[in-house]
Symmetry: C2
Subunit: 441 residues, 2 copies
C-alpha cells in the first residue's frame, strides 16, 4: 500500500471552515446586492487569458507575478486582476455593449508573489467600473457605492480618501519637476507606510532639491475639511492648466458626493493619495478602516483616460474601484470584528429515533422544505443523544422528534435547542414556530 | 506605436454578455438556495492544489488533462473536479468537521482536453456530497435534491436514472466474468452513445463470449416501473452476495425516494447506468433531459466506500452528485429554452436633462436606493433622446425626468418604458409605482 499524501494547501492560498465560509458568502451577497442597487450589471471572465493579452501593457513586475500554464499549444496565464480582463472584454464585445457600460465583477485573481506574511497568491476582488464616460458624476458614484457597501457590511468607522492626480502633477509641474512626475508619485504613494524621513531620502536620491522636498511634503500633508482644502489649494496661486483642471474636477466630485448624501464623516480629500498604477489620470481613491490603519486600503481605484488602448482603436475612458475581499475578510476575522456564524444553514434537524419511523420523517422533511424551511434529516444510524449533539455542535436551532406516540396522535415533538424547551405540536404549528423564530418568509 | 493585441479568449473557454450572465447567475442562485434548503453547507477550495494531491490516485488520463502551473517552487495545478479537493479538505480538516458532513460546492474546474466542439476547458460544477455515512437515506437525499433543483430551475421534463453497481457487478460475477468487471462497466457506460452493435464488438474483443454478451445486453436493457424491475431482477434467481446486497440497497433507495415524495415520473431504475469512474461502489445516478437526450447527463454521481484513502487513515464513505452547469446553461441557451434576460439590473434610470438639475437628480437616486430600488443615474452628457434610447436598449423599465417645472412643484415625471405612459407624481408615489410593478419588497 502507498504511503499517504499529506493533505494540505500551498502557502498564500486560503480556505475556510463552513462557519467562516457562510460568513464570507454573506459578505459577497451584500456586496453583490449593493452593486446591483447602484445599477451595475454582473459579468464574469475566464480565469485564464492569452498571456500576450495580460502582458500587452508591458511585462516588468507583472510578468514576474503571473502564473503561466504549462501546456503545449496556446500560451495561457491566470489573470492577476480584473481590470485587464475588463479592457479585453469591452474591446472584444464593443459592438454588443451599451455605453456608458457599468459592470461589477467578483472573482478570484492570482499573483505568484514571493510569499510574505499576509500576502495572498489567490484572492477575491470585487470591482465596479463605469466605462465610456468623462462625467464626474461617475467618479462620485464610486464614492457613493463604496460608502453604501461598507455600511451594508456593518462596517462604520471607515474613510474614503480621494484626490485628483492632475492636482498633484500640476503642482509638480509648477515646481519644475514634470520629468520626475511618475517617480515622485511612486515614492509619495509610500508616505504613509514609510514615513517622511524615508520619503525625503528617496526624493533626494532622484534629485529633488531640499526646498522642493519641503514643498511637496507640506502639500501632501494638507489636512482639513473640503472647504479648508480648497482654500489651501487656492492660496498657492498655482498658474498651471493641469492643476486647474484637477481642481475643477475635484470640486465637481465633492459637490456630487454631497448631493449623493454621503455624510462628511465617511470621506475626505487627501492629497497624498497617489496610487502606484500608471494608468490613473484623474480622480483616485483609497479607503481605510480608521480603527485599523495598519490594514491599509480596503477599496482603491481611480479614473483612467484610455483603458482599452492595447486592444482596440476605440478610446474608452472610465472610472472604477476594487475591494480586496479575501484580505479584508481575513483581517476582520483576525480582529474578531464579526460575530461567529453557525456551521449550518439548516433551521431544523429531523432526528430518526428508529428506522421504522423513516417514512414519516422523510415526508415531514419535504413538508418543511415545501414551506421554505432549510431542513435536514439525520443521515446516519445513531442514538438520539448523538443526533442532539450533532445539532448542537453545528448550531441547528430546532430538532424534530417523531416516535410511536407522535405518529399515533399525528403530531411531532419540537425541541428548541437554545431554550431546551420541547413542545408537542402539529406539523403546521411547528412550521409556524420555526418560521417566526428564524424570520423566514 | 505598438500594433494592437487582438482581444479574444482561448477556445474551450466561455464568457457571457451581461443579459446572459444575469440569467446564468439566477441559475446559480437557485441551485444554491435549493442546496441550502436541503441543509448542505457551502465550502470553497482554492483553484490550485499540489499536483501530487491531484494525482495521488494515479495519473493516466487525469495527468494528461490537468493544467500545471509553470513557476519555480511548489508543483501546483488547477483542480479538474471538486471531488479530489473535497477528499483533501475533509482529510485535512477532519477534526474540525462534524459528520455526517453535508457540503455543497459551486466552482469552476479546468480540464486541458483536446478541444472538441462543445467541450469546455473551464466550466462550473455544482456538487453536493454527504460524507461519513452508509445510510441509504443519504443516497435518496441526492435524488430528492436533484429533483427539487431542476424543478426550481423551471425544467420539468427530466429523469433521474439510478442503479446500483453491486447489482451489475454481482450479475457479472454470477456469469463468471468477475475479472473483466471494470472493463465491462467501462464499455457498458457507452451503450447509449455507441449502440448495441459497437458494444457487442468491444465486449467480444475483451473475450466475453456470445451468450454472455447477449445476457449482459438483455440485463442492462431491462425496462419498466420500479416494481417491474425488481420482479425481473428476482426472476433471474441469482445466488450471489454482492448482487443481493445491491438489490437490498436499491430497494431501500427506492422506498426512501418515494417517502421523500419525489413523483415517479422524475426517476427510474436503469441498470445500464454504470458511470466510468472507478471509485463508485454502490448507488449511481445520471440525469437526462427527456426532450434532448443528445445533451447527455446533466447531473451525475454515486456512492463511494472510501473517498479519502489517499490522504488519511480515516475511512470515509459517502455519496454525491454534480451538475455540469456551464454545459447545461450553454445547451439551454442553444435550445432557446430560457426567456431572454434584460441587460440591466436597474428598475429605474434617472435622466439628466441639464447639468443644473444634477443636485436634484443625485439625491433622488439615493432616495430610490434607500427604498431598495435598483437605480442608476445617466452617467454621460447627452440629449434626452439618447438617454431614453439607453434605457430602452438595456431594458430599464422606468425613466425619471426632472426639469424646471418638476423642481418648482416638488414633483417628478415617471416614464413607463413598456407602455410609453408618462405621469407626474411625487417621489413617494413614484417609489410605490415602481415597487408594485417590479415586485420589490
Amino acid at each position: 500500500m502507498n504511503s499517504k499524501t499529506k493533505p494540505r494547501i500551498p502557502s498564500g492560498f486560503y480556505e475556510l471552515l463552513p462557519g467562516d465560509q457562510i460568513a464570507f458568502n454573506k459578505m459577497v451577497d451584500k456586496i453583490r446586492s449593493t452593486y446591483e442597487l447602484f445599477g451595475f450589471v454582473p459579468i464574469e471572465t475566464p480565469a485564464v487569458e492569452f498571456t500576450e493579452i495580460l502582458l500587452a501593457k508591458g511585462g516588468g513586475e507583472t510578468e514576474k507575478q503571473i502564473y503561466r500554464l504549462n501546456k503545449e499549444g496556446d500560451d495561457l496565464s491566470l489573470h492577476f486582476d480584473l481590470t485587464v480582463p475588463l479592457a479585453r472584454y469591452v474591446s472584444e464585445h464593443f459592438k454588443e455593449l451599451v455605453f456608458p457600460f457599468r459592470r461589477y465583477q467578483i472573482q478570484k485573481v492570482w499573483r505568484g508573489e514571493r510569499n510574505q506574511k499576509g500576502r495572498f497568491r489567490e484572492f477575491y476582488q470585487c470591482d465596479i467600473d463605469v466605462i465610456g464616460t468623462d462625467s464626474i458624476l461617475a467618479d462620485a458614484e464610486m464614492i457613493a457605492t463604496t460608502y453604501r457597501v461598507f455600511k451594508n457590511l456593518g462596517i462604520d468607522n471607515f474613510t474614503v480618501r480621494t484626490s485628483n492626480r492632475k492636482i498633484f502633477s500640476g503642482f509638480l509641474f509648477f515646481l519644475g519637476l514634470e520629468e520626475k512626475n511618475s517617480d515622485i508619485l511612486r515614492i509619495i504613494d509610500k508616505l504613509e507606510k514609510q514615513g517622511a524621513q524615508e520619503i525625503t531620502q528617496q526624493l533626494s536620491k532622484i534629485g529633488v532639491e531640499g526646498d522642493q522636498v519641503a514643498s511637496i511634503l507640506n502639500f501632501v500633508e494638507f489636512n482639513g475639511t473640503a472647504q479648508e482644502m480648497f482654500k489651501k489649494l487656492d492660496s498657492l496661486n498655482i498658474d498651471n492648466d493641469l492643476f486647474k483642471r484637477g481642481r475643477t474636477e475635484l470640486w465637481g466630485l465633492i459637490n456630487a458626493v454631497q448631493k449623493f448624501n454621503v455624510p462628511e464623516k465617511y470621506w475626505k480629500i487627501d492629497l497624498s493619495i497617489a496610487r502606484g498604477l500608471d494608468y490613473y489620470t484623474g480622480t483616485v481613491y483609497e479607503t481605510t478602516l480608521n480603527d485599523f490603519p495598519e490594514v491599509g486600503s480596503i477599496c482603491s481605484g481611480g479614473r483612467y483616460d484610455d483603458l482599452t488602448s492595447y486592444y482596440t482603436k476605440e478610446k474608452l475612458s472610465g472610472v472604477g474601484v476594487s475591494i480586496g475581499l479575501t484580505r479584508l475578510f481575513s483581517k476582520l476575522k483576525e480582529l474578531k470584528i464579526f460575530e461567529k456564524e453557525k456551521s449550518t444553514v439548516s433551521s431544523v434537524l429531523i432526528a430518526i429515533l428508529d428506522e421504522k419511523y423513516n417514512d414519516n420523517c422523510l415526508s415531514l422533511a419535504m413538508k418543511f422544505r415545501d414551506n421554505n424551511i432549510n431542513t435536514e434529516v439525520y443521515l446516519n444510524s445513531g442514538k438520539l443523544d448523538r443526533q442532539i449533539k450533532y445539532a448542537d455542535k453545528l448550531g441547528i436551532p430546532f430538532v424534530v422528534l417523531v416516535g410511536e406516540d407522535e405518529i399515533r396522535d399525528n403530531k411531532l415533538s419540537l425541541k428548541n435547542m437554545k431554550t431546551g424547551q420541547q413542545v408537542i405540536s402539529s406539523t403546521d404549528e411547528a412550521i409556524k414556530i420555526i418560521k417566526d423564530e428564524q424570520q423566514i418568509k
